[in-house]
């Protein structure tokens, strides 16, 4: 993993060997993660797990998700700060700043900031894509729950069917999100450097998108494991962990939908 980040850093600094280092780092990381989970899975399947280990894994997952929430909190914090403090200050609430440095320019959210005043661009509207995406994610949350009930009820066919549905919805979400970015860059002139709006928009949705990708991969693995019959109706922590993660990604999206797109 260290190799991976060194590689990315070298890439950012434009160093020649960076791609190789990055690639190697990615592989090493993947190998470690894979090895680790393989061991856990093997032990799980062998039924070596006592209730206690099961509970430890649960606590582990819960606190991991909590840490992710706080990661998002930093970016949401930036959004709230910009909207309620810095932009109003720049546009006149703080008289000295606005008059002395920014020619008393009025700014309204969404804004690209005083220095980009002449720039032509449009914010992302909540309709249609983001709303559709919201529906998709909410639906995926439901299909996942159905799958979970099926698992508990021992209904394998239903379980696997609904799992695939969930994975598929996740992938559609990612696809649509990619399309949205394409739209933003190609037609709206909305880019990462479109001032504070562009910054917060891409940071929040991008970071979320990354989590959807991870979540989808997790669900995919879980689906494959369901097909292999790794889970029992009474004990299926792997399944639940992935499901919690997915619901968390869902809830973050709702926050995004409200604060980034609608308000």
């Amino acid at each position: 993993m260290t190799t991976l980040v060194v590689g990315i850093a070298m890439y950012l600094e434009g160093m020649a060997v960076s791609t190789w280092v990055m690639g190697a780092g990615g592989l090493i990381t993947a190998w470690f993660v894979f090895g680790w989970f393989r061991d856990v899975v093997t032990e799980g399947v062998k039924g070596l797990y006592s209730d206690q280990v099961d509970r430890s894994l649960r606590w582990g997952m819960i606190w991991f998700i909590f840490s992710e929430i706080m990661f998002f909190a930093a970016f949401f914090g930036a959004l709230f700060y910009a909207r309620t403090l810095s932009v109003p200050w720049l546009s006149g609430e703080d008289a000295a700043t606005s008059r002395m440095l920014w020619d008393s320019m009025a700014l309204d959210w969404p804004t690209a900031g005083p220095a980009n005043a002449g720039m032509e661009w449009q914010p992302m509207s909540a309709w249609p894509l983001p709303t559709i995406n919201t529906m998709i994610l909410l639906t995926s949350g439901m299909t996942l729950t159905v799958a979970h009930h099926a698992l508990k009820a021992g209904n394998r066919a239903k379980l696997i069917g609904f799992m695939w549905a969930t994975v598929l919805l996740g992938m559609i979400f990612i696809g649509l999100q990619g399309y949205e970015y394409y739209e933003a860059y190609a037609h709206l002139n909305l880019r990462m450097d479109t001032g504070i709006y562009g910054s917060t928009f891409f940071m929040l949705t991008g970071f979320h998108g990354m989590h959807v990708v991870i979540g989808t991969l997790m669900l995919l693995v879980i689906t494959l494991r369901c097909m292999k019959g790794h889970f029992q109706p009474e004990s299926h922590f792997g399944f639940e962990g992935a499901a919690w993660y997915w619901h968390f990604v869902d809830v973050v999206w709702l926050g995004l939908y409200i604060f980034v797109y609608i308000l």
Binding site: W89, L90, D94, A96, T97, M100, L101
Partner: protein, 274 residues
Amino acid sequence: MAAALIAAPASADFSLLNMTQGVTESSRDIYGLHMTIFTITVVIGVGVFGAMFYSIFRHRKSRGVEPSKFHHSTTMEIVWTVIPLVILVAMAVPATQVLIDLDDTTNSEMTVEVTGYQWFWGYKYKGEDVQFLSRLDTDSDRARRLDSGIQPASVDNYLQNVDQRLVLPVDTRVRFQITGADVIHSWWMPDLGWKKDAIPGYVNEMWTEIEEPGVYRGRCAELCGRDHGFMPVVVEALPKAEFDEWLANRQAGGTGMTADSDETPETDGELAAR
């Protein structure tokens, strides 16, 4: 080494042990707050440490004491939650008053814009058509180079002198509007009781009313890169009449230097070139 330990305090001037009282009402208020809190903590400290050392000397095993077994007392715990709380409230009241007073930048008679650059200051007298830059004087600048071979002590006001001082009138309510041009700096003048960050893209305000003429020295107080240690602030406070003279001279294109400043001024041409 022992000699240095003893010599240092002996040679140290008492004013170098404590905060300056400064030359404005605010700086004296702040000094007052500082001394009040300091005294309170010393008193609490004497109490707490007194009890601790008493216990260390009396309740030691080598004196053959038997340890007692008590391990809690709700009364005591309430007492030492409530008493500190009361003390804190008592401290917060004057602090709040001073803070409210400092915050009010209205009713000023003149305004100076201060801009922090890497690594010097820019001053502009608002509405007076006077502006200039103020940087470390050449003597200090030469002496401060790595291995310059010049003894800092041999330089007059080493690192505390500038080429052009900020000249202000006494007994006048002056407002400062502070900003930064590149990175964050902080304009600090201990004798005025103020330190305010100079933030690029934003303006911070503060005010002062100097009571005594004199030359006051401060420095940049926010890490701003390589030469952060070398961007002093010097304020020269003049009686009102002299200040007006200075300002008029400056506006007429003169250097506006007062008799007691020995530095070479930077020309406005150089300033415009920036």
